[in-house]
C-alpha cells in the first residue's frame, strides 16, 4: 500500500466520486465541489502565467516592447460593454478576431481538409485487387449517398430517394462505429481508475 499522501487523496476522491453510482451522498458532493474549485483556480493560474504574462506583460515590462501596448489596449476594449457610453468599442477587437480567424480557417481548411479529402475519394476501380475494389467502391458510394441525403433542393423521391436512404445506412453504420468506440473509451477510463486504485494505492497488482 502506498504511503504517498497525494495518492491517498486521489484514491479517496475517486471512491467518493464513484459512490454516486450507489446514490447521491455528502462524500460525492464534497469531491464534486473540490473539483470545481480546483479547476477554477487552476485555469486562473494558467490564464495568467501561460497566456497573459508571457504574451503581454513580460515583453512590455522586461523587454520594453511597446508594441505589446496595442494588444493590451485592444484587449481592454473587450470590456467596453460594461460602460454603455463606449460599448461600441467592443466591435474593434471582435472584428479583428473574426477577420484573423476567417482568413486562417478558410484558407487552411480548403488547403488542408476539403481538397485532400476530395482527392481521397478519387479512387481507382480498375487494375486493383478485388478487396481494394470493394473498399474503394464502398468509399465512393458512401460519399455520394451521404451527400445526396444532405441535398435538400429537391424532394427525396426515385433515384434521389434511394440515394438518400443509402446515405442514412452509411451514416448509421458510422454512428454505430462511433458508439462502439465511445463505449470503449468510457470503459478505458474506468480501467484507468481501477488500475490506479489497485496498483498505485493498494499495490496488489
Amino acid at each position: 500500500m502506498s504511503w504517498n499522501v497525494g495518492v491517498w487523496i486521489a484514491s479517496l476522491l475517486t471512491l467518493a466520486i464513484y459512490s454516486f453510482l450507489y446514490k447521491d451522498n455528502p462524500f460525492y458532493k464534497v469531491a464534486e465541489n473540490i473539483f470545481v474549485g480546483v479547476s477554477a483556480g487552476y485555469w486562473a493560474v494558467v490564464l495568467w502565467f501561460d497566456f497573459t504574462w508571457p504574451n503581454l506583460f513580460e515583453p512590455l515590462i522586461n523587454r520594453g516592447n511597446v508594441i505589446s501596448l496595442i494588444p493590451i489596449i485592444v484587449g481592454l476594449m473587450m470590456f467596453a460593454p460594461l460602460i454603455p457610453k463606449i460599448s461600441w468599442l467592443v466591435r474593434i477587437p471582435l472584428t479583428f478576431t473574426m477577420g484573423v480567424a476567417m482568413a486562417l480557417v478558410v484558407t487552411q481548411r480548403i488547403q488542408g481538409e476539403i481538397f485532400p479529402q476530395l482527392q481521397a475519394t478519387f479512387l481507382p476501380l480498375a487494375g486493383v485487387s478485388p478487396g481494394v475494389l470493394i473498399s474503394n467502391l464502398l468509399i465512393i458510394i458512401g460519399v455520394i449517398a451521404t451527400l445526396i441525403y444532405f441535398y435538400f433542393s429537391k424532394e427525396h423521391k426515385g433515384v434521389l430517394g434511394f440515394g438518400a436512404k443509402l446515405g442514412i445506412w452509411f451514416m448509421m453504420i458510422a454512428f454505430g462505429a462511433s458508439f462502439g468506440y465511445t463505449v470503449m473509451a468510457r470503459i478505458s477510463l474506468l480501467i484507468g481508475r481501477v488500475y490506479f486504485l489497485l496498483h498505485n494505492w493498494l499495490g496488489i497488482i
Binding site: F51, A120, A185, V194
Partner: protein, 273 residues
C-alpha cells in the same frame, strides 16, 4: 415472462456492480488474451523504425488528466520506442496539463536509456494559441519557443538550437484528446509544411481520424487504450495498456449481453402492446 418483467425493472446499480466486477477480476487474475495489431498502429511503428538515428520527433501531449487513462500509456510506449531507436524528442503541449503529463513519461523512460536532457530530449511546455501558434511554429520555432518548461532559454540546449523550423522535424506525434489537437496539426502544420503526422487519440476521437489516414494526411493511429496496448505489444513493453485489455474484452462481452437482453425486453414489451 415473469423473468423478463423482473429484468425490465432491474436496479441499474446491479449493472454497475457487474461492470465493476468485470473490470476488477481480470486485473487480479490476468487471462492473457491476445492483442492483435491493427494496420494504423503498425504504420506508426514502421514509420518510427524507418527514421534514421538522431532524427527529431515532436511529441505533442495534447491532453489532460481526464484522458490520462487512455493516452498516458501510449505516451510511454511511443517514447520508449523513440529512445530505443536513438531519436531525439522535442516535447510540447497544446493543452495546459499535457506537457506536465508528458514530462512524467519522459522522466520515467529517458533515464532507462541514459538520455540527456537538452541533448536527446527537451520539453518546451505548454504552447497556447492553437492554429496561429502552429503556423508560426512551423515557420520559425524561435518566434514561439524561447524557453523550455523550466524557463531556461532554449538556445542553451543543443536540441533547442537544432529545431529551427518545420524542415528540421522528421515526424510529429500528437497524443490528442480533442481541440486543439490532431486536426490542427493536420490542417495547420501538415498541409502547410508537409511534415508527417501520426497520432494517438482517445477512443471517441478514433473513428474521425480514418478519413485522414485514407487520404494520407495521417501516417497512422493509436486509437484509445487498445491502440496503446497494440503499441506496447509491438515495442515489447507490456505495461498498463496491455494489463487493461483483459478487462476491456470482458466488459465488452458483458455489454453485448446487456444489449441483447435489452432488445429482448423491448420486443417482448412491443408484443404485449
Amino acid at each position: 415472462m415473469k423473468f423478463i418483467d423482473r429484468l425490465e425493472h432491474l436496479d441499474r446499480r446491479i449493472i454497475f456492480l457487474l461492470v465493476g466486477i468485470a473490470v476488477i477480476i481480470p486485473m487480479l487474475i490476468p487471462l492473457g488474451l491476445p492483442v492483435d495489431i491493427s494496420k494504423p498502429v503498425k504504420d506508426v511503428y514502421d514509420k518510427v523504425e524507418s527514421l534514421s538515428e538522431g532524427s527529431i520527433v515532436v511529441v505533442s501531449a495534447d491532453y489532460d488528466p481526464g484522458s490520462e487513462a487512455e493516452l498516458y500509456p501510449a505516451t510511454e510506449a511511443f517514447l520508449e520506442h523513440c529512445f530505443r531507436r536513438n531519436l531525439r524528442v522535442f516535447m510540447l503541449g497544446l493543452w495546459p496539463a499535457g506537457s506536465n503529463l508528458g514530462n512524467l513519461a519522459l522522466e520515467e523512460i529517458a533515464p532507462q536509456y541514459n538520455k540527456v536532457y537538452g541533448l536527446d530530449y527537451i520539453n518546451v511546455g505548454y504552447r497556447p494559441g492553437g492554429p496561429v501558434m502552429l503556423v508560426s511554429l512551423g515557420r520559425n520555432v524561435a518566434d514561439i519557443v524561447r524557453t523550455d518548461y523550466t524557463g531556461t532559454p532554449i538556445d542553451s540546449f543543443p536540441l533547442g538550437r537544432a529545431v529551427k523550423s518545420a524542415r528540421d522535424i522528421d515526424l510529429v506525434m500528437t497524443l490528442s484528446a480533442g481541440d486543439p489537437g490532431v486536426l490542427h496539426w493536420i490542417i495547420y502544420f501538415n498541409a502547410r509544411y508537409g511534415t508527417p503526422i501520426a497520432c494517438a487519440t482517445t477512443a471517441i476521437m478514433a473513428p474521425q481520424q480514418y478519413p485522414y489516414i485514407s487520404s494520407g494526411q495521417l501516417i497512422g493511429l493509436l486509437g484509445g487504450l487498445k491502440g496503446a496496448a497494440e503499441y506496447e505489444t509491438l515495442v515489447e513493453r507490456k505495461a498498463r495498456a496491455v494489463a487493461g485489455m483483459d478487462s476491456q474484452s470482458i466488459v465488452h462481452v458483458l455489454l453485448v449481453i446487456f444489449i441483447v437482453i435489452g432488445n429482448i425486453i423491448l420486443f417482448s414489451q412491443r408484443r404485449k402492446k
